[in-house]
């Protein structure tokens, strides 16, 4: 295929430790907005976050109750399956460990569910042990609706489609159920370091 003389992709910087960029990824300085549907606008007065499924006591919190949980600010690299990676992104949110404290379950899987119907599945152990948050702040500001605000799941060690926008809860499950992109051929697990983009990779 012809090379386009002088063409370089958007925002690519080469002055970075290549050990931080997974295979097949390109570095970006932007924060691209990718959506599978219209941006939802649930008023905070109606917003709830639920833990349901294979739990003894399903629970649901209002925005104020959710915000009362201890939160933390973390800096992580994120990797989108569409090949861009963004380093040192700063998020503020509640650790999923905190939200699951006291929740009795034998579930091994989680299905994250969101406004607009988006879902994604992750093993329970991949959202616990300090590996995931429900994030409501990005770069010191409230999370923008187009980036998933009021709150999104943040699971930075997996491809970013697993960090579901407009998150409304986690369904704990004994069996794994494929979420939106997983149903359409994306990898069930999605480890960027093993380049697990598509089913069968």
């Amino acid at each position: 295929m012809p090379i386009s003389r002088g063409f370089r992709g958007r925002g690519r910087r080469d002055d970075v430790d290549p050990g931080r960029i997974p295979p097949g990824q390109y570095l970006t300085g932007d924060f691209p907005v990718l959506s599978a549907g219209p941006t939802p606008h649930t008023p905070l007065s109606e917003w709830t976050f639920s833990i349901r499924g294979s739990v003894d006591d399903p629970v649901s919190w209002s925005w104020d109750e959710f915000r009362a949980f201890p939160s933390e600010t973390v800096t992580r690299d994120i990797h989108c399956v569409t090949k861009w990676s963004k380093l040192n992104t700063v998020w503020t949110g509640v650790s999923v460990d905190t939200l699951l404290e006291g929740v009795e379950t034998s579930a091994e899987y989680v299905l994250a569910f969101c406004d607009g119907g988006y879902t994604t599945n992750v093993p329970l152990e991949d959202v616990t042990g300090g590996r995931a948050w429900v994030a409501y702040g990005y770069d010191g500001e409230p999370l923008d609706p187009e980036h998933g605000g009021p709150a999104r799941l943040l699971v930075p060690h997996l491809y970013f489609w697993k960090s579901a926008k407009w998150l409304r809860g986690l369904e704990l499950r004994a069996d794994d159920e494929a979420g939106f992109w997983e149903t359409y051929g994306y990898h069930n697990y999605g480890d960027p370091w093993k380049e697990q983009r598509y089913a069968g990779d």
Binding site: V33, A36, G37, P38, G117, Y198
Partner: protein, 88 residues
């Protein structure tokens, strides 16, 4: 990020179906709305292309390109009729 319309996927549809399909008519399995593919709500900026019903937002079609091969899922349509071909 505003959604586009079916004109934006005309090229992808030629790739997958080998035919110009923006004038094809689809019926939404969710709400029954019907109209040309060109008028559907299209989200291009995603791990795949998501085509939704403009009325009820149900997902009608999803196109995913996997290493150069495009797969299409049409199950959101109750019906899908290929329109008259404009030209080869």
């Amino acid at each position: 990020m505003d959604a586009l319309d079916g004109n934006a996927i005309a090229g992808q549809l030629v790739e997958v179906f080998g035919a110009e399909l923006t004038t094809a008519t689809g019926v939404c399995a969710g709400c029954g709305a019907s109209g040309p593919v060109a008028e559907l709500e299209v989200y291009l900026e995603a791990p795949g292309t998501v085509v939704r019903c403009r009325s009820c937002k149900a997902v009608l079609m999803v196109l995913v390109s996997r290493r150069g091969v495009t797969c299409v899922d049409l199950h959101g349509f109750a019906q899908f009729d290929v329109g008259r071909r404009i030209r080869e």
